[in-house]
Symmetry: C2
Subunit: 334 residues, 2 copies
């Protein structure tokens, strides 16, 4: 595993030991991603090179591979599929950055800041379609079905979120539907494909899909909580962006639906000018009203469900890795 990869994984360096059993597989995935991010068109060399330095946490590939191993085997299909899910995730990030006008991504300038909006949108399209092409070359048609369904749900989730931008009446059910699409679906697909291409039974495949979905829901709720009440110095990333972009997330939705009249009025007042959000006041209100605890509990419920899904697996090093990821997902600092 090269230095760039090891520093980019989901776990912070002190936790990386737990992923050691996946090292060889993740190296293969990196090799495939690097190969896909080259082109016969010399014009694309710089932009693809930039994207290849955009190393993320590789959460989806790690889960796909761990699920495969936990079901007994990994093979070349898994490496390709892990690259496919990561490239679809990268495509959606490139588009997200354009749409949210974000300047930075993973400590590098966002694509659109260097090559313009047009190239960024088209690059995202190229990444999406390339991922489908990769999936189509696998023998078993399940990959195309799962990837097609999931990528579509991801985009629907993002679109739905956009339609509810600034919606003070958004329900918890709609919020859960949005995060199920934009985040949980592709994590569920990763776990499903890991199991399916390891030859697991349909019962186990379904449980792995459910595990990924529950884990993804918890992951996104935790991420949304962090954006509202996290510490920028500790996390090393800019926070409070959801409110700037008028995305209401679970703690605020809960407070607006279930808080006292006074708390609701205070929150609406705080949200009325997104360019001047008083983050500390929002945080205090969410803590004092119990809304933050409500959201944390909801994330923990999903974690409990995810752990329950893992019971279908026989005990193994890789089931332990999956449990470890599940335990740590609520306590991210990066």
């Amino acid at each position: 595993m090269n230095a760039a990869l090891s520093s980019s994984l989901f776990f912070t360096p002190e936790r990386i030991d737990s992923l050691l059993p996946l090292r060889a597989d993740l190296e293969e995935v990196e090799r495939i991603i690097a190969n896909e991010l080259t082109s016969s068109h010399k014009e694309f060399a710089d932009i693809l090179n930039h994207i290849s330095n955009y190393k993320g946490k590789r959460l989806r590939p790690a889960l796909l591979l761990a699920c495969a191993h936990a079901c007994g085997i990994t093979n070349e299909n898994h490496w390709v599929l892990a690259a496919v899910v990561e490239l679809i995730h990268t495509a959606s990030l490139v588009h997200d950055d354009v749409l949210d006008a974000s300047q930075m991504r993973r400590h590098l300038p966002a694509v659109h800041t260097l090559w313009g909006t047009k190239s960024a949108v088209l690059l995202g399209d190229c990444l999406f379609t390339n991922a489908f092409h990769m999936a189509s070359k696998l023998d078993n048609p399940r990959a195309c079905k799962v990837i097609g369904r999931s990528a579509n749900r991801v985009c629907e989730g993002e679109l739905l979120q956009g339609f509810h931008s600034g919606d003070l009446h958004i329900s918890e059910a709609t919020y859960l539907d949005i995060i199920d699409g934009k985040t949980a679906e592709m994590i569920a697909a990763s776990c499903e494909l890991g199991a399916a291409y390891a030859g697991a039974s349909e019962k186990v495949i379904d449980s792995m899909q459910s595990f990924g979905r529950n884990l993804g829901m918890a992951f996104q709720i935790a991420d949304d909580i962090l954006d509202l009440v996290g510490n920028e110095n500790q996390t090393g990333k800019s926070l409070g962006t959801d409110l700037e972009q008028k995305k209401l997330t679970l703690p605020i939705i809960y407070l607006l639906q279930n808080g006292t009249q006074e708390d609701k009025s205070s929150m609406i007042e705080l949200l009325s000018n997104p360019s001047d959000i008083k983050r500390n006041k929002v945080k205090k209100l969410l803590i004092d009203s119990g809304a933050l605890d409500y959201a944390k509990n909801k994330a923990e419920e999903f974690i409990a469900l995810a752990k329950c899904d893992l019971q279908v697996l026989a005990p193994s090093t890789f089931r332990t890795i999956l449990l470890d990821i599940t335990d740590k997902i609520l306590n991210r600092s990066c």
Copy 2:
């Protein structure tokens, strides 16, 4: 066939008789497209309804179905595939409009003018991914392979075009590579899939793919010529947009590479201020220098190759339709 459909087909009303044998199949395709453009999310109803009124020429579905019939049969797979290629085409148009900041599409406001850039980009993503999901549900994995490869080439072609925006040194080879990707590839895929899902031999399938590619090349060269020298009153659409967007097309590329020093200088001078292009002067220069004739001849060469590809088919009503489309593609007025 409903009125909206019949008025929107590739052929102008006086020519529609030649497509009558495809009427029943095209109705099925419209039914599938309409069904796909509905969603369980009520939030998407208006934007999807808008898109469903964006009826284009249905060139790709018509070619796919005519190729299928010419190879002996059409069935439900063909209807789904015809809808898939049309939806991918629609997705790329939605993104094109955002990227080119076009205000109108097919006599309706472009999506981004009504719902904003963010929704337009995400809607395009939803259409792309939905098309893949549709293709993945067909039994034969060929659909996913062909659609994956082609959609990727379309996006690469668009990206390559963007990288050469304003490039006065762009070669004819690069121009041909761009239009092969952005236009000819998906037309080639349509013809290939029509033949493949009719059970044709690989030799016939290859010839149909080649036919579609040659036809697509001719189609795009003709479209580019029309944009430079066509008559707005006659065509009913705004022209000259390629120059405004700094897209150099074949007649201009030929002149800049092969014209006299005087003609080159005059053209560079005319191109120097895209916001104030003197279209009549550009037109006169392209005619007088022979550059326009060169481009027309190139389009005719592709037409001749396309007709040659059709020789692999036994004579039939549908081969005649394909020949008819081929003959008319250079003389479009809409």
